[in-house]
Amino acid sequence: MQNKTKTKRSGQIIFSPYSPGEGIKKALSIGRENILFELKSSVLKGRGGAGFPTSTKWMLSAAAVADKKFIVCNADEGEPGTFKDRVLLNEYPELIFDGMVIAGFTIGAQTGIVYLRGEYEYMLEELEDYLIKMREKNLLGKSILGKEGFDFDISIRLGSGAYVCGEETALIESLEGYRGEPRNRPPYPVDTGYMGYPTVVNNVETLSVVPHILIKGAEWFKKFGTEKSAGTKLFSVSGDCGKPGVYELPWGISVEQLLELVEAKNTKAVQVGGASGTCVPKSQFHRKFGYEDLPTGGSIIIFNESRSMLKVLKNFMEFFVEESCGQCTPCRIGNTKLLEGVEKIEKGDFSYAYLNTLKDLGKTMQVASKCGLGQSSPNSFISILENFKDEIFHTNGRGGKNA
């Protein structure tokens, strides 16, 4: 009943064979500069959805001068439809923690913190047990693997049910014991993060890729994917398909190809990137996943012909109204207005002029909100109303039998 089953998975990078501790050994032997060099040439970008170059983040923190530095693993995956980190935490903790140790070594941190979302508390015990094993093998603690002066340990902190804490500055606020409200940027966490010290916040998947890159090299990594989007991505596929689950696929694969792989039939729309992503209609299924066209954190939700896109949109807007932190005006009130607009459409009590005003509001939210939540919540509003005009407006929004 509880989702602790471990599946035999296969994939080209993350799910490829790896023995625990291997990455750390390699990292310690090649040294900091070479680690950064490998990461830079691998063009690895953050796998949480934002896509910031990992090597840049690590370099900025490594260059910062401070007597304490931190590595934070962002395991607060809350984006609807994302569960890849759950699989990684459950089945591949060695990759994640080795990645953290490597990161700690590279930037000069002594402490690693895993911010595990409250909903994954059931995994806590096993993860703590794994950390104990790592300490016994001297993969954590003082003078790791004999490297004099390299002391690093990892602690796990729980979240308490706030999607906005997936945003890196909100996460740091939460760790510091405050409301999880995003901070003003600049300064960025790389030089002013947890308790004011340089902090690198990386997604679980990003950290899992690092050991593989170090062992097999950046050139090998770049063989997969495309030029701008190197490597593979974990896709969490759910919704109307025959084989939902986590798939490791190279960047550059098209929506069509993915749908075939997961045995999706009669697909009407694919929500790429969760509630804050875009809704791709059938006419655009040729588009390819990647930073060039369709960047994503990996959440793929598939809707077949029977689904009402309006109800889907309402679900998404309700999600944002619930999860907004409430700090800044555009997101706090804007999301409510967008939800009200969707409800008006549902009732049939709207005017196109007002909807255009709301789309305008969405555009303002995308540039004026304080953090990524407010900046991306209008995405589904704008894309669903645009791409499914016919269904929503000309069949009175009742374009499906149920949601």
């Binding site: 984006e79 014991g177 759910s238 919704g239």
Partner: protein, 157 residues
């Protein structure tokens, strides 16, 4: 609250502050520990935490009210959270919802009369490939159907 209950709660919180530290960064861990044991953080507990950590009580209250999993008001002995986000919604959460409501006789965001179960909604649990899913007291249950869900609840004490 009776005097000796207050004293034992104070002692408990003092121990937590000793364990996690009296810095602000320990606040969430302490609140989570109290929440886990008592299912809510009473106003007395909040003021004790505030006193021992040198924070204003309203700041403690503010942090608790921000996070969905922390409660200021008395909850049932078992807290049940049902995921209402899109994938679980599509997988049949509505049927589970009605079955639970019918069985327990309460609506969501309410507690049963005997204080046994509190129901609430939650956002995406990360179990989208095996929905519908719900959390009962930190344990996650997936691939639910109305009967299984109701049986699980009936087994709760």
């Amino acid at each position: 609250m009776l005097v000796f209950e207050k004293n034992s709660l104070s002692q408990e919180i003092e121990n937590l502050v000793l364990q996690y530290g009296a810095n602000r960064s320990a606040l969430l861990q302490i609140l989570q520990a109290i929440q886990r044991k008592h299912k809510y953080i009473s106003d007395f507990a909040q003021q004790e935490v505030a006193r021992l950590m040198n924070i204003h009580p309203v700041e403690v209250n503010s942090v608790i009210s921000f996070y969905s999993f922390l409660h200021s008001k008395l909850q049932g002995r078992n807290i049940v959270k049902l995921c209402k986000t899109i994938s679980c919604d599509m997988a049949g959460k509505n049927n589970i919802e009605s079955a639970i409501k019918r069985e327990l006789g309460i609506s969501f965001n309410e507690t049963t009369n005997d204080n046994r179960i509190s129901l609430e909604y939650t956002s995406c649990l990360g179990q989208c490939d095996c929905g519908p899913a719900m959390i009962i007291n930190e344990k996650v249950y997936t691939k639910l159907d109305p009967e299984t869900a109701v049986n699980l609840l009936n087994e709760l004490k």
